[in-house]
Amino acid sequence: MEAALLQEISEKLQRGKAKDVAALVTQALEQNISPETILNEGLVCGMNVIGDKFRQNEVFVPEVLVAARAMNAGLKILKPALSGAGIEPLGTAVICTVKGDMHDIGKNLVKMMIEGQGIACIDLGVDVDPQVIVDTVRDNDVQLVCLSALLTTTMYGQKEVIDALCTAGLRDKVRVMVGGAPITQEFADEIGADCYTLDAASAAREAKRLIAEMRA
C-alpha cells in the first residue's frame, strides 16, 4: 500500500503531473508515511529516473522541467512536515552562470536536478561577478559552488571565481563544481575545480557526494 503510493508519486512526477503529485503527497502524509520516506522514495526517486532518462536522451528538456515543477509542488506540501520532523536539506549550493555569459538553460536544469536531491540552491542568475559569489559564500552556510559557462570567452570566468574564493580565504569552505558546453575534465583540472560533469543528472549526483564530503 505504502510502496504503491510512493511509486505513484514517483510516476506522476516523471510525467510532470504537478497537481497529482501534490495531492498524492498530501494523501501519503495523511497515511502517516514519514516525510523523509515520501521525499526519498517518492519525489527524489522520480527525479532520479528522469535524470537518468535525460542523460540517455530518452526524455528531453521540457520533460525535465515539468518533472522538476511537479517535484516542487510536492515539496511545497512536504516542507512543513520535513522541518517538523527536524529534517533539513542535505546542504546548500550556490549556482550561477559566470560573468559575461547569459546562457542559463543548462544552469537552470542543473539547479532543478540538485534541488531534486533535497539540496537547497541559492541561484544568483547569469552574468555574475566573482565578488557576488564570494560574498554569498561568506554570508551563508554553503558547501558547494556550481558554475556554468557556455562560451570560450567566459569559461575562464570560472577560474576567476576560484581565484577570488582563494583570495578571500574561502576556498576550503566549499567544493567547486563546473560545467557547460566548452568545459572538459582537463579544463576543470587546469583551473583547480573539484568536479566537472557533462550533464545535469550527473551534476546532481556529484553535488550530493561533494556536500556529504564537506559535511563529514
Binding site: 536522451n57 528531453f60 528538456v61 521540457p62 547569459m102 538553460i105 570567452t153
Partner: protein
C-alpha cells in the same frame, strides 16, 4: 570550367561536376572577434559582412531576413530570452500586431541590389526566417517555451499555423521577385548532448508546419537548410523526413561527425563542421582539421566552413591562414559528378524534367 557562385553552389548540391568547393562563411562575425581584428589591422572601413568577406577573399554569401513583428508589436529584446506572451489571451492580443503584409518587407532597392550582385556572379544570397522551434521561443520566452509543449500545446500549434500561413505567402512573394541560392530556418534546438526536444515532440509540434512550407520553397527551386547548433545527430533524421535539403553548422565541439550523417542521410547537404576551437592553435592544427574533413568533402555536398562564429581567441593572422587553407582544400574538391545523390529539391527538379 568557369561558373558563377550561384551555379557552383547549385551544381554542388545537385551532385554535378564542379570546379571547386564554395569558399563561404554564412554567419556574421562575433563583435568581440571583430573588435580584436580591427585592433590587429582589419581596416576600420571594413565593417559590413560584405566588406569583411571581400577583405579576406571569401566568396560572398549574404543573408536577407525579415521579421514577423510590426511597429505595433510588443518589444522583445533579441537574445534576452524574455518573451512577450504567456497564454491564449496574450496571443489574442498580440496576434493582430504580427505578420505584416509580405509585399512591404523588402524594399525595391534591396531587390535591385540582390539582382545586381547576383548578376555580378560572385555572390550567394540566402534568405532566413525563424523555424518552428525558434519562433515560439521568441514569443513565449526561453523558459515558458520549453513548458509550452505541456502547458499550451494547442496554442503552440495555433501560433505555428498562423505563422506558416504567413510564411507561405512570404515565400511565394519573395521568391517570385528573386531566386535565392538557398534559405535557412534558424532553430538552435540542440546543444552538446543532443536536441532539446524529443522526436515525438518534433513530430507533433514542428513537423506538420515544415511539411506545409518546405514544398512551397521547393516549388521555387530553392534548397532549405536548417540552422541548429549543438549535436544534431538525432535531429538530422527528423529534418530529413520533413524534406529539408541540408543542415548547418555541425558543431564539432558538440561531437558531430559529418561522415556518419553522409552515411545515414545521403540526400542531404551539410555546411560548416570546421572546428572553430582549433583555429587559435595555428596552421598545423587547422591543416589537421581540414585533413579530417577532406574525405567527407570529397564525397560531395559538404561545404567546409567555420562551425559557427570564429571565437575572439583567434588572431587575424590565424584567420588569414584559415582562409588560405580553405582555398587550398576547396580546390581539392572537384567532383566529376555521377554518383552523388542530389539534394531533395534538385532531385525533384530532375524528376519533373525527366
Amino acid at each position: 570550367m568557369s561558373m558563377t557562385a550561384s551555379e557552383r553552389f547549385a551544381r554542388y548540391l545537385s551532385g554535378k561536376e564542379i570546379d571547386r568547393m564554395p569558399i563561404i562563411e554564412w554567419a556574421p562575425w562575433w563583435h568581440l572577434t571583430l573588435g580584436r581584428w580591427h585592433a590587429e589591422g582589419l581596416p576600420a572601413e571594413c565593417a559590413s559582412v560584405d566588406d569583411i568577406q571581400g577583405y579576406f577573399g571569401l566568396d560572398r554569401c549574404l543573408q536577407t531576413g525579415v521579421s514577423y513583428f510590426t511597429p505595433a508589436s510588443p518589444t522583445v529584446i533579441p537574445g534576452s530570452g524574455i518573451g512577450c506572451m504567456e497564454d491564449e489571451d496574450d496571443w489574442e492580443r498580440i496576434r493582430p500586431t504580427l505578420f505584416p503584409d509580405v509585399r512591404t518587407l523588402i524594399p525595391k532597392e534591396h531587390f535591385d541590389w540582390l539582382r545586381a550582385t547576383h548578376e555580378r556572379g560572385d555572390t550567394l544570397h540566402f534568405f532566413t526566417v525563424e523555424g518552428f522551434f525558434w519562433y515560439p521561443r521568441v514569443l513565449f520566452g526561453i523558459e515558458n517555451h520549453l513548458y509550452s509543449f505541456y502547458d499550451y500545446p494547442e496554442l503552440y500549434k495555433e501560433m505555428c499555423e498562423d505563422y506558416s500561413d504567413w510564411l507561405v505567402e512570404l515565400f511565394d512573394y519573395v521568391f517570385s521577385q528573386f531566386h535565392f541560392d538557398f534559405m535557412s530556418f534558424a532553430e538552435d534546438m540542440s546543444y552538446n548532448s543532443g536536441p532539446m526536444i524529443g522526436e515525438a515532440c518534433f513530430d507533433e509540434f514542428l513537423a506538420p508546419f515544415y511539411r506545409k512550407v518546405i514544398p512551397v520553397i521547393h516549388k521555387h527551386g530553392i534548397p532549405v537548410f536548417i540552422d541548429s547548433d549543438g549535436d544534431i545527430t538525432m535531429a538530422v533524421d527528423w529534418y530529413a523526413k520533413v524534406g529539408a535539403d541540408g543542415m548547418f553548422p555541425l558543431e564539432r565541439q558538440a561531437g558531430v561527425d559529418v561522415s556518419t550523417y553522409l552515411d545515414k542521410q545521403p540526400d542531404m547537404a551539410f555546411l560548416g563542421h570546421f572546428d572553430k576551437m582549433c583555429m587559435k592553435f595555428g596552421e598545423a592544427a587547422m591543416r589537421a582539421e581540414f585533413e579530417r574533413i577532406l574525405p567527407s568533402l570529397q564525397r560531395g555536398k559538404v561545404i567546409a566552413s567555420v562551425d559557427h562564429q570564429t571565437p575572439p581567441d583567434v588572431s587575424i593572422v590565424n584567420y588569414k591562414i584559415y582562409v588560405s587553407l580553405l582555398q587550398e582544400y576547396a580546390a581539392r574538391v572537384t567532383h566529376k559528378g555521377g554518383n552523388i545523390t542530389p539534394c531533395p529539391v534538385f532531385a525533384e527538379q530532375e524528376r519533373s524534367q525527366a
